[in-house]
Subunit: 218 residues, 2 copies
DNA sequence: GACGTTATTATGTATATACATATTATGTCA
DNA sequence: TGACATAATATGTATATACATAATAACGTC
């Protein structure tokens, strides 16, 4: 069926045969046709509506999928050797901007951890993280000498919701210094807020040098 | 089951009960449990292996999904009014670098289209596109006066595979001029190559001003 | 003819059953 | 003890069946 759509045997916008008909044609059960059609619909190439039938999407709003690995794994998968350097780790009052980003009404004390992830000794990602101590009190004593905050949180505090933002920016003096790039150089920024229902866990800003590539296939 | 994982009733790395057991516990059929577990496995919170059983992922390599809409839809969804401006549209010989990016052995004549997409009159995305005329010969006569190359291709030539790369970069003089930003300003770049099996269709480089945000939730 | 009700229909979902497949555990033999 | 064949088992997948649900089509009434 994917081939038929790709080869325009079923043109965009066209109504395709019903599940019952297709199951006869392909010599399989309706449940199997249903599963296949649902997969294609999830991928965005089909639009399904009860009673109205299934149509080939007119404007295929296809969806890309990215895995969000742990930085260490990301680096090791690419064949680099991983290291990280803790830059700071202290409890301080978050700015109103940070608090707002995490959906909190007012600023409060949070754990502020900054560290640098390196691949083959070269700066790969600068991580600037705020952790809601109410959500993860046990992080308070952690020194992050052997495990990065990223990995600690992933293994100690699973989240159920997240918001991720990607954008480009320019490195300020401090960021440039940490990443080993020139001031005002372009950087790739990923910001992520994670939640358990109704409760923010952490806000992290991850900054990569401009050479970083985020790749996906579909 | 998602709640049990989030609340660590089932700890990371732990083996969870088999489908048969769960179906009895939840009072439903094994097929239903199977569908639920497969969904969670796709989301990355579970790891499943035949005979070995199902485990809670130790390092949840969760995956983010986001839709790749048509630029026009992207702008209109955000509440902007869409316009586009054709900058150039001619057949020329692609550089070896472009050809290689599309998986072609040697450079050849291709359609080179450049245009600017605007939101509320302000530059939103600069699109620099190369189209393989062998794959889409009918595009040759198109003037792109009423429809953008993006939209034309989406509706006239569905693809089955794609590779997408996101990264940050700096605007060169020409790009800066087109986007209305300063030279050397940071820009957000998306590059996409689309294929039908074994045949490249188009390579497009889409450049956004640094103010652009790409957002996804999960 | 307009409007509200009912019937029809395609998809959505759950179920019991059956068998395939990959992997582990076990048993056999040299 | 080690190598190899064999059995056991959890997941993977297909199937027939049944019923739910939403949207449309048909119908009847005023």
């Amino acid at each position: 069926m994917a081939r038929r759509i790709a080869e325009r045997v079923w043109a965009p916008g066209a109504l395709i045969p019903g599940e019952e008909v297709l199951s006869v044609e392909f010599g399989c059960a309706r449940a199997t046709v249903n599963r296949a059609l649902q997969e294609l619909a999830r991928g965005g190439v089909l639009v399904r509506k009860r009673k109205a039938g299934t149509r080939v999407a007119l404007h295929p709003m296809r969806e890309a999928r990215f895995v969000i690995p742990i930085v260490r794994q990301e680096i090791e998968t690419k064949g680099g050797t991983y290291q990280f350097k803790l830059l700071s780790n202290q409890v301080e009052k978050a700015s109103p901007a940070i608090a707002q980003r995490m959906g909190l009404a007012k600023a409060k004390d949070m754990l502020h951890v900054r560290c640098l992830h390196l691949s083959d000794g070269r700066p790969y990602q600068y991580e600037d993280r705020w952790v809601n101590l109410d959500a993860v009190p046990s992080i308070r004593g952690e020194t992050f000498e052997t495990i990065s905050p990223n990995e600690w949180l992933v293994t100690h505090s699973p989240f159920s919701q997240a918001e991720i933002v990607f954008h480009a920016g320019t490195a300020d003096m401090e960021e440039a210094d940490i990443l080993g790039v020139a001031e005002r150089d372009a950087v790739f920024i990923v910001e992520r807020v994670t939640f358990v229902p109704q409760k923010p866990i952490t806000f992290v800003r991850m900054i990569h040098p401009a050479s970083h590539r985020m790749v996906t296939q579909l």
